[in-house]
C-alpha cells in the first residue's frame, strides 16, 4: 500500500468517528438528554485535556497501564510457550487441549471474586485476570500457526543440517510469527477491556476506578473522561503493535 492510499484510508476511517461525535453533539444540543447526564463532547474533551495535565490522573493512567502490560506480557509468554509446546508434542497437546476446552469459554471475570480473595485488592488480582483473559486467543493462534508450518520449510532446514530439537526455534517459531501476532492483537484489545472492568469492580486506583467514583457522585463529565482515555490508549497500543508487526513481518507475503 502506498502512502497516498494509506492517507485516504485514514481519512475514511475518521469519518464514522466524526459522525458518532456529531450525533453525540446533536443529542445534547437538541436537548434529548440533559447536559448534567450527557455532557456535550466539547465539554468532555476540555475536561480530558485538563485531567491529562494533572499528576493524579497521570498516576491513574500509569497504574492501569502497568496492570495492562503486566497481564498482557504474562499472557504472551504463557500463550506462546504453551501453544508451541502443544504443537510440538502430542503428549503436551493431550494435556493442554482439555484444559483449554474447559477454560476458554469460561467468563474469566467470574473468577475475579475468587482472585480478589486469594490475591487481594492490589495489582496482582487485576494482572491475573488480564492474563487469564488475554491468554487464550494468543495460545490458540500460536498453536494453529505452529501446527500449520509448511512441511517443506522444516525439511529444507533439516537437510541443511539443523538438528531436530532446534527445528522448533529455528523454523516453527519464526514461521508462526504472523499468526502469533494476530493472537496478540486480539489479546491486547481484550487486555484493555478487562483491566478497565477489573478496576471498575474493585479497585482504589486506575481509570476504571475513576469512572465508578464519578458515576457514584453523578459527575457525568468525569465519567466520560476515563472512557475516552482507555479507548485512546487502546488506539495507541494497537498502533505500536502494528508497527512491531510490520517490522517483524517485513519478509512475509501480505495477507
Amino acid at each position: 500500500m502506498n502512502a497516498r492510499a494509506l492517507t485516504s484510508d485514514v481519512l475514511l476511517g475518521i469519518i464514522p468517528i466524526a459522525l458518532a461525535i456529531g450525533l453525540w453533539q446533536a443529542i445534547s444540543s437538541f436537548g434529548y438528554a440533559p447536559v448534567t447526564l450527557l455532557p456535550p463532547p466539547g465539554m468532555v474533551f476540555t475536561r480530558l485535556v485538563q485531567q491529562l495535565l494533572t499528576s493524579s490522573f497521570q498516576q491513574e493512567i500509569a497504574s492501569t497501564l502497568f496492570r495492562l502490560f503486566a497481564g498482557f506480557a504474562i499472557a504472551v509468554i504463557l500463550g506462546v510457550g504453551i501453544g508451541l509446546a502443544a504443537a510440538a508434542s502430542p503428549a503436551v497437546n493431550a494435556v493442554v487441549r482439555p484444559i483449554v476446552r474447559v477454560l476458554a469459554p469460561l467468563p474469566k471475570v467470574a473468577l475475579y471474586p475468587a482472585l480478589l480473595l486469594l490475591l487481594g485488592f492490589g495489582h496482582e488480582s487485576k494482572i491475573t485476570l488480564v492474563a487469564a483473559d488475554a491468554l487464550f486467543p494468543i495460545l490458540l493462534s500460536t498453536y494453529y500457526g505452529a501446527s500449520m508450518v509448511e512441511q517443506k520449510l522444516i525439511w529444507s532446514a533439516m537437510a541443511a543440517g539443523t538438528p531436530r530439537r532446534q527445528i522448533l526455534f529455528k523454523v516453527v517459531l519464526p514461521a508462526a510469527v504472523p499468526s502469533i501476532l494476530t493472537g496478540c492483537r486480539i489479546g491486547l484489545v481484550i487486555s484493555c477491556i478487562v483491566v478497565f472492568l477489573a478496576e471498575m469492580i474493585s479497585s482504589t486506583d486506575g481509570l476504571g476506578y475513576r469512572l465508578v467514583t464519578a458515576a457514584r457522585t453523578f459527575q457525568a463529565v468525569d465519567m466520560f473522561v476515563p472512557l475516552i482515555t482507555i479507548s485512546m490508549l487502546g488506539l495507541i497500543l494497537n498502533g505500536l503493535l502494528q508497527g512491531l508487526r510490520s517490522y517483524l513481518l517485513r519478509g512475509f507475503p501480505e495477507v
Binding site: 510440538a88 508434542s89 502430542p90 501446527s147 520449510l153 525439511w155 533439516m158 541443511a160 531436530r164 527445528i167
Partner: protein, 297 residues
C-alpha cells in the same frame, strides 16, 4: 564427504514432534558399506503404503529398485500420482519406506542429511530471511564462520545470477528468482546429491527454459549426482543421462532409458537433433501406455 545420515534419535526425544515428518525407526547398527564404489544412491525393493482417510491402504510405490551412479543426472518421469515425489522424499530421508531400504554411499538412509540437498517446486524459502540469509543458513548450520559463510553465499548468489538481490526478501522476487535462491541455498552446504522435486513446475515456459539451461551450466562444472523429478518429457530428455519412466499408481519402474546425447547440450541444437526427437517420442509413447494401464486396470 559423508553427512550424518545415520544419526539416531535419543530415547524419548521429540518422539511426538507433530510438525516434523515421521521419523524412520531407530537404527543403532553401524551403517554397512555395500555396493559398487561408484553407486551414489541405491534403492532396494522399496515399497510405500499410505493409510488414506478411509483406513484403506494405498500402495504408492511398489517394489522399486534403482541404482544411481556418482555424478549422474537421473530424471524420474511419470504421470501425477505415480509416487515419483515420494521416491525422492525417501532418498531425502523425509519419509521412511514401508518396505525395503535406500542407501547413499552405501549407508542406509535414516533421516535427512546435508549430503542430500532438496529443491522443491514450492521453493520453501524462509520468508523471514533475506536472499543472503536464506543462502547462508546451511553453511551457518554446518558451523562455517559468519564472515566466510557470507562470502561463500555471495559468490553463490552471483553464480545463480542474482547479484544485487542479496538483501531482498523472497516475496519481492519472481518465481524464477525464488527458485534460483532455493538452488543456491541448497548448493551452499555442498550436498553430494541434489534432489529436485519438479523444481521448474511452477514457472512459465520461458523462465523454465532459462533455468534448465542455467542448471545444466552449473551442473557441468562439478557434476553432482542429481535426482530430478518431473512430468515433462522434454525437460527429462534435455537434462538427463538416464530417464526412469514410472507407471501410474501403484508406482513401478516401467523402463529406464539411457539418454546418449552428447554434452554440453545446447537447447537450440538439441531441438533439431533427430536423436533427441526420437527419445522424446519414444518416452511419450511409454507414458501413454502407462496412462492406459491406469485407466483400465
Amino acid at each position: 564427504m559423508v553427512g550424518p545420515v545415520t544419526h539416531g534419535k535419543t530415547p524419548g526425544s521429540k518422539a511426538g514432534m507433530k510438525v516434523v515428518p515421521s521419523r524412520p525407526e531407530v537404527r543403532t547398527d553401524p551403517a554397512p558399506v555395500r555396493g559398487p564404489a561408484s553407486a551414489m544412491i541405491e534403492i532396494e525393493r522399496v515399497s510405500q503404503t499410505f493409510r488414506t482417510a478411509g483406513r484403506q491402504a494405498h500402495l504408492a510405490l511398489s517394489d522399486i529398485s534403482l541404482t544411481i551412479e556418482d555424478g549422474a543426472f537421473v530424471s524420474i518421469l511419470g504421470p501425477s500420482g505415480c509416487g515419483k515425489s515420494t521416491l525422492l522424499y525417501i532418498v531425502g530421508g523425509f519419509v521412511s519406506p514401508t518396505e525395503g531400504e535406500a542407501r547413499v554411499k552405501g549407508r542406509t538412509i535414516t533421516g535427512p542429511g546435508p549430503d542430500r540437498g532438496p529443491v522443491f517446486q514450492e521453493f520453501a524459502l524462509f520468508p523471514w530471511k533475506t536472499v543472503l540469509g536464506n543462502v547462508m543458513y546451511g553453511p551457518r548450520q554446518q558451523g562455517v564462520k559468519s564472515a566466510e559463510a557470507d562470502a561463500q553465499s555471495r559468490r553463490l548468489i552471483e553464480m545463480v545470477g542474482l547479484k544485487g538481490f542479496e538483501n531482498f526478501y523472497p516475496k519481492e522476487l519472481s518465481g524464477g528468482m525464488k527458485q534460483r535462491v532455493a538452488l543456491a541455498r541448497t548448493l551452499a552446504y555442498h550436498p553430494a546429491v541434489l534432489l529436485m522435486d519438479e523444481p521448474f513446475g511452477a514457472l512459465d515456459a520461458h523462465t523454465r527454459t532459462r533455468l534448465q539451461n542455467d542448471l545444466l551450466n552449473i551442473w557441468e562444472r562439478d557434476r553432482k549426482t542429481v535426482l530430478f523429478v518431473t512430468h515433462s518429457v522434454d525437460e527429462a530428455v534435455f537434462l538427463s543421462d538416464k530417464v526412469v519412466v514410472m507407471t501410474r499408481a501403484p508406482g513401478r519402474i516401467k523402463e529406464i532409458v539411457d539418454i546418449a546425447l552428447p554434452r554440453p547440450r545446447r537447447r537450440a541444437e538439441l531441438l533439431l537433433d533427430p536423436r533427441y526427437q526420437k527419445y522424446v517420442v519414444e518416452i511419450e509413447r511409454m507414458i501413454d501406455d502407462t496412462s492406459e494401464e491406469g485407466l483400465h486396470p
